[in-house]
């Protein structure tokens, strides 16, 4: 059509105007109309809560309005012994996961890559990716079953080896390890996918060259495969550090019970408990806000650090 118009004498001016109009605001309103539900969602469910968070600086009264009390809630919070305990728990659990969960998928990816039979590898992959898609309610229920002192699989083995059964889920000294192991059960398989993708991206010529040099399997893993996935490892490690204060609410809330709570109560479960179950809204919000600000600092630091050293950030 545009070409037909061009053929008629002095129309170019007209087309120019039409183009100007098309490129102006008029052209974009349909896009904004399409984006509107999404934008409204972000404003209401992500920005309105930030506004609501002012309750952390207020004293809630049964009859509104609330009274502005400044930083009083934070002073109360910082004077609360339990708050420091849950903060310590959060850091300890995150550190344990960084040490004992983070490296596992790397090992899994390296081993998967060594499997020579493609069909066998596929079967293994199909099995080990599954738990990632199960909820923590389900995983907790599964772990309660397999760790049961009377008839759980783990204690069946413990008993067969001649030891007394162990009540893992109600043993304060062991419950953090239950978090570590269950996290591995859930994600060691699926998370290896990221590393496996990086391994596949490694230039085959590097392996051929290593072979000519007489490298054996382990030398090839050490000198070719591992260096090839170091950028991925570094990026994910830094990002994990950025998420340090998120010790996984869903996991903890389902693995917790009165006997072991003091060991695995984290900031998020603390906020939920004092805020929504005992109704100390302001104090709970203050704790949540403290974590949010600290967490934001850590994620931003991790992002810029990762971007600087590996070229890939959080987004």
């Amino acid at each position: 059509m545009a070409q037909a118009d061009l053929a008629i004498g002095n129309v170019p001016v007209k087309i120019g105007r039409l183009d100007l109009f098309r490129r102006g605001a008029g052209q974009w309103w349909p896009y904004y109309a399409m984006m509107a539900p999404g934008i409204i969602f972000f404003l209401i469910f992500h920005y309105l809560p930030i506004w609501e968070a002012q309750i952390a600086f207020e004293q809630v009264r049964i009859i509104p309005p609330n009274i502005w009390v400044g930083l009083k809630q934070f002073q109360t919070l910082f004077a609360t012994q339990v708050f420091w305990q849950v903060l310590a728990n959060t850091v300890i659990i995150s550190a344990m996961k960084l040490a004992f969960v983070f490296p596992v998928p790397i090992a899994v990816a390296l081993l998967l890559n060594e499997l020579t039979n493609a069909r066998f590898r596929q079967v293994i992959q199909s099995a080990i990716y599954l738990p990632h898609f199960l909820s923590w309610v389900v995983i907790s229920a599964v772990f309660i079953a397999i760790l049961s002192p009377s008839d759980g699989a783990v204690n069946d083995i413990v008993k067969a080896a001649g030891f007394h059964p162990i009540a893992f889920m109600t043993e304060p000294g062991l419950i953090r390890w239950v978090l570590v192991v269950s996290e591995n059960w859930r994600s060691a398989g699926w998370d290896s996918l990221l590393y496996l993708a990086a391994i596949i991206g490694i230039d085959q010529q590097l392996y051929d060259a290593a072979e000519i040099d007489g490298a054996n399997r382990w030398q090839k893993i050490w000198h070719v495969t591992l260096p090839g996935i170091v950028p991925t490892i570094a990026t994910l490690f830094i990002l994990n550090c950025g998420m340090f204060l998120n010790a996984d609410l869903n996991q903890v809330i389902n693995m917790s019970n009165d006997v072991v709570r003091s060991q695995i109560d984290i900031v998020d479960t603390y906020v939920y408990r004092i805020g929504l179950t005992t109704g100390q809204y302001s104090l709970g919000t203050a704790a949540g806000l403290f974590k949010a600000v600290l967490g934001m600092g850590m994620i931003l630091a991790a992002h810029f650090f990762a971007k600087r050293f590996t070229g890939k950030g959080v987004w």
């Binding site: 934008i39 809560p49 309610v137 596949i200 392996y207 949010a292 959080v314």
Partner: protein, 300 residues
């Protein structure tokens, strides 16, 4: 991958066997607990008490547990509620994520950068559950299905993934469509969406899993037991150990069939019932996501 065709030394063959065994062990450790639960749930209730946690074969055979679950009112409402939340939530998620991603993917969109920052801030800063609770209260969403659907209407990560996908669509295709008289929406519907099918499928599956597995918001926002999704019901029965809720006070007092069933067998069936939909879509997840992730890496 490491597909070497040359003759292997005995040492290499031993190494291969060890590596294969290690991976096999991992697969067994992953699946055995679920198979054990399946065996327990299918066993003759009289034999369940004596079964250990290692077996994967039922002792005797009975469908009593599954029959009880299939007729249990709390379980049935749980299934219906989960289906409503998952079905409705996933459709709205995918639709609104795609619509927003389409706009954001247009390079010349005025205000594009501001919108991106608007989205990124939400990834970095999360004021926590209590302000979120008050927003839902203010909007009158508490104790409605909307409270567990709306709070995660558009996932910032999936949005960004889709934006990147839409950005890859060749400009010529879109120009051709607009020359044919297609407007912004019909270009989206007839050109962009069909081209983004693999990405949409992946996102759909992940939203589905997200909603099906949702329990925390459902637990705190849905006070009414009749609105509980299956995850919350499972938590009540198994994690919290609320046995009477499962068997029923009357049954328990009257020693009816339900009370005869071993609670362990009932728990096992309940856990498995809750993962059935995940198992149903799992082949699709393997197909779309693992292939997508791996082929993406190959191209990159």
């Amino acid at each position: 991958m490491a597909e070497d065709r040359r003759v292997r030394t005995p040492l290499e063959r031993t190494e291969n066997a060890i590596i294969a065994s290690a991976m096999l062990l991992m697969a067994v450790v992953t699946l055995q607990p679920l198979l054990n639960l399946l065996a327990i749930s299918l066993s003759d209730p009289a034999n369940v008490a004596g079964m250990n946690g290692l077996t994967i074969l039922p002792s005797g055979f009975s469908l009593t547990v599954w029959q009880l679950l299939a007729t249990h009112p709390a379980v049935l409402t749980g299934v219906v509620n989960s289906a409503i939340i998952t079905g409705g939530g996933t459709v709205l998620n995918v639709l609104f994520t795609a619509l927003m991603a389409w706009g954001l993917s247009r390079p010349k969109l005025p205000g594009r950068k501001v919108l991106f920052i608007l989205v990124l801030v939400t990834i970095v800063f999360d004021p926590g559950i209590i302000p979120d609770y008050f927003v839902n209260k203010r909007l009158g969403l508490l104790n409605t299905y909307w409270s567990v659907i709306f709070y995660h209407l558009v996932d910032a990560w999936y949005l960004i993934i889709l934006v990147r996908f839409f950005e890859e669509i060749p400009e010529e295709l879109l120009e051709a469509a607009s020359l044919d008289g297609a407007n912004a929406f019909s270009t989206f519907w007839h050109v962009a969406l069909p081209l983004a099918r693999p990405a949409l499928a992946t996102i759909t599956l992940f939203y589905f899993v997200f909603h099906w597995n949702e329990f925390f918001r459902a637990m705190i926002y849905l006070n009414d037991q009749s609105k509980w999704p299956l995850q919350v019901v499972l938590r009540q029965f198994v994690v919290e150990g609320d046995k009477l809720a499962m068997v029923g006070v009357n049954n328990s007092n009257n020693y009816t069939d339900a009370a005869q069933i071993n609670i362990r067998a009932l728990n096992a069936g309940m856990i498995l019932l809750t993962i059935v939909p995940i198992l149903a879509i799992y082949p699709l997840i393997l197909k779309f996501f693992t292939k997508g992730a791996l082929s993406g890496a190959l191209k990159g």
